[in-house]
């Protein structure tokens, strides 16, 4: 085995064990773990909110929570799931994996990396602490439309806390993206050319570029909202030359790319997993990468499809560009199926979740193309059809990929393999529960049930479909509890796990589990996009010779 030796590197640190070692760390692996654990904590918080929402909606004319509490619940649920779970989890995973996958010892800017984690945590806690103010937390939804989020309707500090917290989270995302792109472009190991970078890392590059382009629009938009609220500004006040639609333009200029920021990393996760468990290289590697950048590029030009019903945008243009996104997404599906085609598929837990991702995301993608058509959108806008659509994308898509990633990389991150049997049980609960929750919502939406209403009259079919959705949500919650118990029991048992339990292809499987502080004692030679596979083959060859 030849390659670059990176042995015996003393790692400077304030402390090597204990709480201080985590607080003061600049190690990308520890920061990645902190990101993922924090993100998962917010997943629980937002999940409990979802359970309260489903309890309230289980039957018509219920009043488990008041309408104002309900508004706070769906606002914080959406905000936490998007800004504090799905996005930071991807950044946490990327923090852990990207340097390993490209054979680097750390991120380009380790201290900046630590800073981004702490400011993300501060921002998330700021938003949540709005609940402790007079008037409660923000209640104007996760996109905080004016005038709903203006000072006249949302006079409490909760909305300001929300704005400041999201601003901090957006600064964190921008700086992390700079760090990620710099790491990939500058710190690749010798031999790791751009066309040998693993797909997950490529997808993170596309994601990070999107963050750099899209998040500043949110920063400016929320800055304007804050000026309007607290300094008497008139950006969104039509009476003094402002425009409420401007808020929507700037928000969705960020908000639509944000959808892809939430899904591109998980495309990467699924690609790695599908390839590993089909025992085949990624089918159409270059196409996969180009499709990611095509999706990223197109997603910058579709923002106004969220605003068809304002009547203030060019419906044909934004509809056509939105349809176009289905093309690169279709290429990705084609390549995933191509990767599995005639492969030697093993249905492990990560693979099950990845297949679940494909099915759910396909569902959400198809309804996405439907609502990209203005005539359908005029009917489905702000109905449960839309709620179901984006939950299929983010819940059925990103969340399933997050579970897949956890089962797949848990042995690498912690040196502990999660129990496969209970993992499959968890998948069954999640898959059945998810579809039971959200498939009925398509019908509710078509029947005309609007989103964000805290209760509804006893119309034919509404009660039973909502009851079904609540039952599904409960099944999902049981699945999550099974997952947590699985993690705890596996961590206590600590069954010995090899460095590469799955027969992985990419560089993170070439080092120990968990990796040492400096990541690699030796780097294998990198001659393709599957260096660890090449290494295994050459080892087999030398054994045969003997």
């Amino acid at each position: 085995m030849s390659g670059v030796s990176t042995r015996d590197l003393p790692v400077p640190a304030l402390a090597r064990t204990g709480l201080l070692s985590w607080i003061a760390t600049t190690d990308h692996k520890r920061i990645g773990i902190m990101y993922m654990v924090t993100a998962f904590a917010f997943f629980f918080v937002a999940g409990i909110m979802a359970m309260l929402i489903r309890a309230q909606l289980a039957q018509p004319n219920q009043s488990i929570v008041t309408s104002h509490t309900y508004s706070q619940l769906f606002t914080l649920h959406g905000t936490a799931m998007i800004f504090f779970f799905v996005v930071p989890f991807a950044f946490g995973l990327a923090n852990f994996l990207v340097p390993l996958q490209i054979g680097a010892p750390d991120m380009a800017f380790p201290r900046l990396n630590a800073f981004t984690y702490w400011i993300f945590l501060l921002g998330a806690l700021t938003v949540m602490s709005g609940a402790a103010t007079n008037g409660g937390a923000a209640a104007s939804g996760w996109f905080a439309y004016v005038p709903l989020s203006g000072i006249k309707i949302s006079s409490g500090l909760g909305q300001d806390f929300w704005i400041l917290g999201i601003l901090m989270a957006s600064i964190s995302s921008i700086l992390t993206s700079i760090n990620l792109i710099t790491t990939v472009f500058i710190y690749r190991a010798p031999g790791m050319t751009m066309w040998r970078i693993p797909i997950f890392t490529w997808e993170m590059v596309a994601t990070a570029l999107l963050v750099l382009m899209a998040f500043p629009a949110l920063t400016a938009d929320l800055g304007m909202l804050l000026i309007d609220r607290r300094f008497g500004g008139h950006f969104f006040d039509p009476a003094a030359g402002g425009s409420a639609v401007l808020y929507q333009h700037l928000f969705w200029f960020f908000g639509h790319p944000e959808v892809y920021i939430m899904i591109l990393p998980y495309f990467g996760v699924v690609t790695e997993i599908v390839s590993t468990f089909s025992r085949k290289p990624v089918f159409g590697y270059v196409g996969m990468v180009l499709a990611a950048f095509a999706i990223a590029g197109l997603s910058m030009g579709v923002w106004a499809h969220h605003m068809f019903t304002t009547g203030a945008v060019s419906d044909p243009f934004f509809s056509a560009v939105s349809f176009l996104i289905a093309v690169p997404t279709g290429i990705k599906f084609f390549n995933w199926i191509g990767t599995m085609w005639r492969g030697s598929i093993s249905l492990t837990t990560p693979m099950l979740f990845a297949v679940g991702f494909l099915l759910n995301f396909l569902n959400g993608g198809i309804t996405g193309v439907m609502v990209a058509s203005p005539p359908i959108d005029f009917h489905a806008e702000d109905s449960y059809f839309l709620v179901s659509h984006f939950h299929y994308v983010i819940g059925g898509g990103s969340l399933f990929a997050i579970f897949a990633a956890l089962f797949f990389w848990f042995p690498k991150i912690f040196g502990v393999k999660l129990n496969e049997y209970w993992g499959k049980v968890c998948f069954a609960f999640e898959f059945i529960g998810f579809n039971l929750t959200f498939f009925p919502m398509y019908f509710l939406g078509v029947m005309g049930m609007p989103r964000r209403v805290y209760t509804y009259p006893n119309l034919p079919g509404w009660g039973s479909l909502n009851a079904l959705a609540t039952l599904g949500a409960a099944i999902m919650a049981v699945g999550v509890i099974i997952f947590v118990v699985n993690v705890i029991v596996s961590a206590i048992r600590r069954a010995p796990v090899p460095d590469d339990p799955w027969g992985g292809f990419t560089l993170e499987w070439a080092t120990t589990s968990p990796p040492p502080a400096h990541n690699f004692d030796r780097l294998p030679p990198i001659r393709s996009e599957r260096p660890v596979f090449d290494l295994r083959q050459s080892d087999l060859g030398s054994q045969r010779k003997r």
Binding site: V4, T6, L9, P10, V11, P12, A104, P105, D106, A108, F109, P110, I174, S177, I178, N179, I181, T182, F185, I186, Y187, R188, A189, P190, L212, M213, A214, F215, P216, A217, T219, A220, D221, G223, M224, I227, D228, F231, G232, G233, H234, F235, D237, A240, G241, G242, S243, L246, H249, L250, F253, A517, H518, N519
Partner: protein
Amino acid sequence: MPNPKSAIAMARTFRQLEPLGTRAHPLVFGVVLFLTSELMLFAAMFAAYYNLRSNSSVWPPAGVRLDLTESTVGTFFLALSSVAVLFVGRSLNRRHAQQTRLWLATTIALGVAFLGIAFHGWSKANFRIDSNAFGSLFYMMTGVHAAHVFVGLILLAALLLGVREQAFVGDRRAGAEGIMYYWHFVFVVWVGIWATLYLVR
């Protein structure tokens, strides 16, 4: 191969294994990425300006007085400052400490002059941030830009205090490069803001 002292030192070693000049310094690369993001921040404000302008029949609102002459003088100072920082780079390349300090001081003085003119413009303006949408836009755009100038001045001052032998090579040289890029960016964006607020109106 130099004796690596840390994980990051190892990364630098990796970088040196590549043919020289094929990879940018990470700091310079990171600053360029940061500036693309900054450009999008200002782009959002330009978009807001032209969106609201196109929605209004009278723009800027009646009674708003803007001093084109004074702002042009300010723009001129910032332009000279952006030129001066080019000479900072040239002096750094020649490893001439005294010359570097001199050009840095010139750059800073011109930047301070720009900020002074901006403050004077705010103090005598006959509209406020809460007067109308134009006022909100005017103060947000000039305010965010002035904050950028202020941060740039602090960075340049830090550079001035740190001009020693080490400043000419390696990470410190890259840091100086990043600050210079930033300073040029601040000027270029100002030309857009100035043209929008005072010429196009």
